[in-house]
């Protein structure tokens, strides 16, 4: 009987972990360039049961959390330094910890004219940071070329990965890559003066939430059922 009880408990615990992941998706419905996480469950057999083919002794755990890289909707901002990526790819950003990648193209200028993120980290071109003339009109076009007045001063470095599942989320919109796996995208497709919205919306968030609540409830019912059977067994044996 305890096998069934443990299976039900593991199911409830897995749903609690799932809630934490969905809560983060929902909290980020307004985050520029955010990509929602999805998760899958798997059943595992306990070490003791391995090789014994005991069907009951299985437990459920959260198996994988993977990122849903479908594009978010574009929102026109009319800010000349806002850019949204159309299709796959990431902007390369120089951080004190090394190069990081983001889908959030909300850029601004530092005092010396360097193109930076809202947190002040330099945006990287194929040859390092991009400097603009602070006295000239700044613009980024649909091919990722950066203009200072009539002069092209650089090009945004957009990279992609053959295995995006291997990217690690670091927060603040950043992903970290495993060593040298970034491939530079040659024909960059951008929408200038626009930002990519979060690809999570309130509707999908609510749907996931309802699923989790119901599943959690179901596992608790299963626990109740197991307890009821145990109770009955005990009563009948003691007569």
């Amino acid at each position: 009987m305890s096998d069934a009880l443990y299976a039900a408990v593991s199911g409830a615990v897995a749903q609690e972990k799932a809630l934490e992941i969905v809560a983060n998706n929902i909290a980020n419905v307004s985050t520029t360039g955010f990509k929602g996480a999805r998760l899958s469950f798997k059943e595992v057999m306990s070490e003791a049961a391995r090789g014994h083919e005991q069907a009951g002794d299985k437990q459920v755990v959260v198996d994988k959390v993977y990122t849903d890289f479908t594009p978010g909707t574009l929102h026109t901002t009319n800010n000349p330094l806002d850019v949204a990526l159309i299709g796959p790819g990431f902007f390369a950003i120089e951080t004190p910890q090394g190069e990081r990648y983001t889908r959030a193209g909300s850029f601004t200028l530092a005092q010396d004219g360097t193109l930076v993120t809202t947190e002040g980290q330099p945006v990287v071109g194929p040859s390092g940071a991009i400097r603009l003339d602070p006295l000239k009109t700044a613009a980024i076009d649909d091919q990722g070329r950066i203009w200072s007045g009539d002069l092209q001063v650089g090009q945004l470095k957009v990279v992609d990965f053959s295995d995006r599942d291997a990217l690690v989320r670091e927060g603040l919109g950043f992903w970290k890559a495993q060593d040298n796996t970034a491939q530079v995208v040659q024909n960059v497709q951008l929408q200038s003066k626009a930002l990519e919205q979060s690809n999570v919306n309130a509707v999908t968030g609510m749907t996931q939430l309802i699923w989790i609540s119901r599943a959690h409830e179901m596992f608790h019912r299963a626990m109740d059922a197991v307890r009821a059977v145990d109770q009955k067994t005990t009563n009948e044996l003691t007569v």
């Binding site: 809560a23 307004s30 009319n78 909300s106 601004t108 005092q111 700044a138 989320r169 927060g171 603040l172």
Partner: protein
């Protein structure tokens, strides 16, 4: 469970801030030269329970990791310097900038601030001032007996005095622009101050160096579009509600766990 609640709370804080920004936009729907703001958010740090690429035994690697996030935070509020529509007033001391640029206004502290609001007046000493009585830079003085003020699109100010028919030039209106207008700091009274992010002001005559031209007798309206703000308002309200549902779900799950005996 505790984490899910805290995460949803960060989401609710974010939507509250978004609402504050929206409310200010809507309150300024009739403010001359007002530019709407928008808020930007970022996701918070992740806890990595299992990192992708870690060895899974037997020489295999884990293809996808297990990371749990902690919610969202406000990153920035940015101003959108798109043009508002122009309204004809017929007042010879109302000016609108068609295109990029700002009027230069001297604050009482002596600092130069920048404004898109071109509703000007003349003070007791005949100087051109804004509605708060702050001087316009460069200072323009209209001598007593000025009958008519004409401002050309390039900013040249000419006047006709009583008993005269010939127009005389008294000065020029100059405009300022910034490499990154979105980096300006709003200080109220329709005024902006330069910051490290905006860069220094580039001064020039209207119509030159990418600066807009001056239209006399017009005022620039607010660039807030009520429909856009209302849609944002609905989305903000729904997102707030969804985050509160997460807290509710976490609470219910905790309750059923607490009921296990």
């Amino acid at each position: 469970m505790q984490r899910a609640m805290e995460t949803a709370a960060t989401g609710m804080f974010a939507q509250e801030l978004k609402l504050d920004v929206l409310a200010n936009n809507l309150a300024n729907v009739n403010t001359t030269g007002f530019k709407r703001s928008r808020s930007e958010f970022q996701d918070l740090l992740y806890e990595t329970l299992r990192s992708p690429g870690a060895p899974a035994g037997d020489g295999n690697q884990i293809p996808t990791g297990l990371q749990v996030g902690h919610g969202t935070k406000a990153a920035a509020t940015l101003r959108e310097f798109t043009s508002g529509s122009l309204k004809q007033t017929g007042n010879s001391l109302d000016f609108a900038i068609e295109g990029d640029g700002f009027f230069q206004i001297i604050k009482p502290s002596g600092e130069i601030s920048y404004s898109r609001d071109g509703s000007m007046k003349i003070d007791s000493q005949g100087r051109l001032v804004n509605l708060d009585g702050y001087l316009v830079q460069p200072t323009l003085i209209f001598p007593a007996g000025t009958r008519e003020v004409r401002v050309a699109t390039d900013g040249t100010v000419t006047i006709v005095q009583d008993g005269q028919t010939q127009a005389v030039e008294v000065g020029k209106i100059e405009l300022a622009k910034f490499a990154n207008s979105a980096g300006l700091e709003a200080v109220g009274h329709n005024l902006y101050m330069p910051t490290a992010a905006s860069g220094d002001a580039l001064i020039g005559a209207p119509g030159t160096e990418g600066l807009g031209v001056v239209s006399q007798g017009f005022l620039e309206m607010s660039n807030v579009r009520v429909v856009e703000e209302m849609i944002d308002l609905i989305a903000t309200q729904r997102a707030y509600e969804t985050n509160s549902k997460v807290i509710q779900a976490a609470d219910e799950m905790l309750r059923s766990t607490a009921n296990i005996r």
